[in-house]
Symmetry: C4
Subunit: 283 residues, 4 copies
C-alpha cells in the first residue's frame, strides 16, 4: 500500500491503516514508536518494583506511569474509533491486551495510598502484561508454532507420561524420605520430583537417606535421558517441514509444487519434469 | 460398534463391552467417569499427605477414601465377573493395577490408628499407584515406545558407558575431596557425580579443593556434551521412522518402493500409482 | 568355534580360547562369572568406603578383598601364561587394566595399618578402576564412538569456543562481583562460569550485585541455547550414518554396496540396477 | 608458499608472510610459539588473581607480566611495521585485540601501588582478553557460525518469545511470592525465572508458597520442553547443510544436481561423471 492510495482515504480510514497495519511508512513509524513506548513502560514497571528505587524516585515513576497510561488509553480509544467493526476489535485477543495495558494502571493510580495495599500491589504489577503488546512483533514465530502444532499431540502424550512418572517418583520419595527430611507432603515431593527430573535442581529439598539418594539417581538419569524425546519429536518435525520446503519445484503441466529431489516425472500427472538427451540408456 | 449390536447381547456381554472397550457411546461415558474418579482419588491421597489439611479435614478425607475404594472395588469385581476369561484379566498388567488400587486402601482403612504407623503410612501411599489406571488413556504413547524400543540397545549401551564414567569420576572425587568435604563415601561421591553429570546440581555436596573443582569442571563439560548422545540416537530413530512412514507405497511396474505422500505417478518410470477419475488432469 | 575343535587343542591353547574369546560355551561361562566377580568386587570397594560399615564389618571386607585379589591375580597370571605373545598382552590396554585391578589391592593389603594413611587410602580406592575390566562388555558402544569420531573435530572446535567464552565470562564476573561476593579469584569465577553455562547450577557461588545477575542471565541463556550445537552435530552425524546404512543395496556388476534410494544405474560402473518395462516413457 | 619464494622477498615482506600467514614452516613455528606465550600469559593472569598466590609470588608474577607485555608490544609494533597497509591492520578486529593485549598491562604496571585500586584491578583483569588472540586458531569454528547464521533469525525469534515468557513468569512469581520470600523486585523475579527456565537452578531464591511452587513447576516443565526448539532449529539446519554439501556435483548430460559422494556415473542417465583410467571397470 503506497502513500497515494492513503491520500484518497478519509481521515479515519487513514488512521486505521496507519495504526493497524505496518505496510505504510507512517504505519512503520507508528509501530516503531509504540514499541519504544511499550519497552520504556516495562522498564518503569520494573524499577517501580525495586523498593530502594521506589522510595527515592517514587514521584518520577508515578508521573511517567501517568504519561504511559495516557498514551495507551488514547491509543486504545483511537483503535476503537477507527476500526470498521469496533466490537470485533474489543473482543479480539489484541483488544483485550490493549485494555489490560490501561486498566491496572488506572485502578492503581486511583488508589495510590490505599489501605488495600496487597491487592493494589498485585493489580499494579498486572501492568507488566503490556509485554503482550509485543506479540505482533513476534509474528515470525509463526513457523515455530506451526512446527510445535505438528508435534503437539506427541508432546502432550509425552507430558502426560512424564506427569504419571513424576507422581509415582514423588510419592515413592515421600514414603522413603518422609516429612523429617523435608518431604513434608506428596505435593511437596512431586514438586521435588519436577525440580529433579527437569534437571533444575534447586537444592532446597534433597534426599538424606541412602535409599532416597538411590531413587534420586534413577530420577536424574531418567530426566537426563528422556529430554531426548521432546527434542527428537520437534527436530524430526522441523527437519520434515524444511525438507518439504526444499523440494519445491513446480510441474509445468499441473500445478503440483513439490517433487522428490531426483524425480524425472511429475508424481501426479506423469509429465516429464525436464528434457534428457539419451533417455535412460546406460552408456 | 453401534448401539444396535449392543442390544442383541446379553446383559453381561453388554457390560463387558462397555467396561473394557471405548468404541460405544456408553463405553466412552464409562471411561470419562472413571478418569474423573481416578483423578479425584489422586487429589484426595495428595491432600491426605499434607499434615495441616489431614488434621482439620481427616474425617472428610477418610469418608471420601472409603467411597473411592468402594467404587474401585465394585469396578474390579464387575470386571472379573464380565470378562470372558477372568483368570486372564486377573493376571494381566491392568488386572494387577486394578487390584493394587483397592488393596492398600483396604489395608490402611482397616488399621486407621494402628501402632505400626510407618508401615501403614507406606501402604496408604501405595494408593497413589492408582495413577497407573491412567495408562490406557496414554495408548497414543505407543509410537514413542516404538521409537524408544528401536533405539533401546543403543541407549542401554550409552547408559552403561555413562555408569562406568560416573563410577570413575565419583571415586576420583572421593579420593581428591575426602570425607571432610562432604564426600563421605564412594556411593555418596557417585551420587554427587550423577547430580553433576546430569546437570541437576543440587548443591548439597560441592567440591572445596581446587583440584576437586577442576575435576568437577570436567564432569560438568562431559555431562553437557554427552547429552547429545541419547538425543541424537532418539532423534535419528524417530526421523527415520517418520520418513519410512510417509513414503511407503510400492510402484507396480518398477520395484521402486517409496514415493512422496499423495504421489499419483511413480517418480521413476511414470506408471500411474492408482486409478483416478480424470487421469493426469490437474485439479 | 565349536567344542570339537576345542578338544583337538593343547590344554594351554584351550585355556587361551576360553579366557580371551567368548565364542565357545566355556568362554561364555567364564566371561559371565568374571563379570559377576568384577561387580561383586566393586560393591565391596564401595561398602569399604562407608565409614560406619567399615568399622563394623572391616574384617569381612578385608577377607573378601583378599579373595577377589587372589582371583584377579590368578586370572592375570593365567592370561600371561596362555597368551601366545605374553609381552603383547602385558603392554596392551587390557593387560594394564588387569594389572591395575590387582596391584592397588596388594599394596593396600600389605600396609593395612600403615601410618601413610592418606596415600594408602588413595591407592586402595584405585581398586575401583576394576570397573574398566567391564569395557570389553561394552563393545557395542563402538558405533557410538564411530559417530563421535566423525563429529570429533567439530566438537573439539565447539569445546574450544566454549572455553574461550567461559574464560571471558568468568573474568568479567570476577571484575563485577569481586572477592567479597564469593568470586575470590579468576579460576574460581571460571569454575562458576562452567557451573552456570552447563546449566548445573550448584548454587555454592551466586551473583549478588544487579550487574552480576544481569551477566549471569546472559551466561545462562547462552548455555541454554548453545547446547543445541553438540546435540545438532552429533544428531546430524548419526542420522547421516543411519541413512548411509539404510541405502545399502549392491550392484550386480561391480561390488559397490550403497546407492541412492531411487538410483536406476550404479553410480560407479553405470550398470542398470534393475529391469524396467517401459523405459522412462511417460503415460 | 615455499621457502624459495620466501628468499626472493625483502626482509620486511618476509616478516609479513611469517607473522600474518601460517603456510610457511617459519610462519607455523611463529604461530605455535605465539600460542604458547598467550596461554602462559593467561595462566599468569589467573594466578595473579588468587590472593594467597599473589602475596607470596607477587614479584615473580610482576616480572613475568613485564616480559609478556614486552613480547606482545614488540609483536604489535612489528605487525604495524610489516603490514602493507598499517592503518587497515590497526583498525581491524585483530588489530584492536592485539592493542587490548598490551594496553591494560601497561596501565596496570604504571600504577602498581596506586590508590585507585578498584579501577586498576579492573583494568588489570582486562588482560584476560588476550584470550581473544586465540580466535584465529578457531578458524574451523566458521562452519558452526555458518549453521548458526542460517538459523539466526529463527533463534532470535525464539529468544524474544522466551524473553516475553520470562517477563510474564517473573512478574507473576513476584506477585505470588512477594519480597518476604526473596522475590524482592520484578528484575529479581525475572532473574529467578531465567535461572529456573534454563534449568540452571542455583537455589539462592526458591518459592515458598504452594501457589509459587505450582507456578515454578510450570516454569520448569516449560524450560525442559522448549529446549527442544533451539536444538531442533540448529540440528535441522546443520543436517541440511551436511546433506547439501555431500551431494553437490552436477551431471553434464541431464541437469541432475546432486549425486552420492564418489559417484562415477550419474544415477539417473548413466553418464560418466568424470574421466577415469579404466572406465567402468570395478576395482
Amino acid at each position: 500500500m503506497d502513500n497515494d492510495s492513503l491520500k484518497t482515504m478519509s481521515w479515519r480510514e487513514r488512521l486505521y491503516v496507519i495504526i493497524f497495519f505496518t505496510n505504510t511508512p507512517a504505519g512503520k513509524r507508528f509501530d516503531t514508536w509504540l514499541l519504544v513506548i511499550i519497552l520504556a513502560s516495562l522498564v518503569v514497571v520494573m524499577f517501580d518494583s525495586i523498593a530502594s528505587f521506589n522510595e527515592r524516585h517514587g514521584e518520577l515513576l508515578t508521573n511517567l506511569e501517568w504519561a504511559f497510561t495516557a498514551i495507551f488509553a488514547v491509543e486504545y480509544l483511537v483503535r476503537i474509533y477507527t476500526h470498521p467493526e469496533p466490537r470485533k476489535y474489543i473482543f479480539s485477543f489484541y483488544g483485550a491486551v490493549d485494555l489490560l495495558s490501561v486498566l491496572p494502571a488506572f485502578i492503581a493510580l486511583l488508589f495510590p495510598d490505599a489501605q488495600y495495599l496487597l491487592v493494589v500491589r498485585i493489580v499494579r504489577m498486572l501492568r507488566i502484561f503490556r509485554v503482550l503488546k509485543l506479540t505482533p512483533y513476534l509474528s515470525q514465530a509463526n513457523f515455530l508454532l506451526v512446527a510445535l502444532q505438528g508435534s503437539r499431540q506427541k508432546i502432550i502424550v509425552f507430558l502426560l507420561s512424564v506427569t504419571t512418572l513424576i507422581i509415582v517418583y514423588g510419592t515413592l520419595m515421600y514414603v522413603i524420605e518422609g516429612p523429617s527430611n523435608g518431604f513434608t507432603s506428596i505435593p511437596m515431593s512431586i514438586y521435588w520430583a519436577v525440580v529433579t527430573l527437569t534437571t533444575v535442581g534447586f537444592g532446597d529439598i534433597v534426599p538424606h537417606t541412602p535409599l532416597g539418594k538411590a531413587l534420586a539417581t534413577v530420577v536424574m538419569i531418567t530426566g537426563y535421558s528422556i529430554i531426548a524425546v521432546p527434542t527428537g519429536i520437534f527436530t524430526a518435525e522441523l527437519a520434515n517441514a524444511m525438507r518439504q520446503d526444499s523440494l519445491r519445484h513446480a510441474c509445468p503441466t499441473c500445478d503440483k509444487l513439490t517433487h522428490e529431489p531426483n524425480a524425472a516425472f511429475c508424481s501426479r500427472c506423469g509429465t516429464q519434469l525436464f528434457e534428457r538427451p539419451d533417455r535412460g540408456a546406460p552408456t
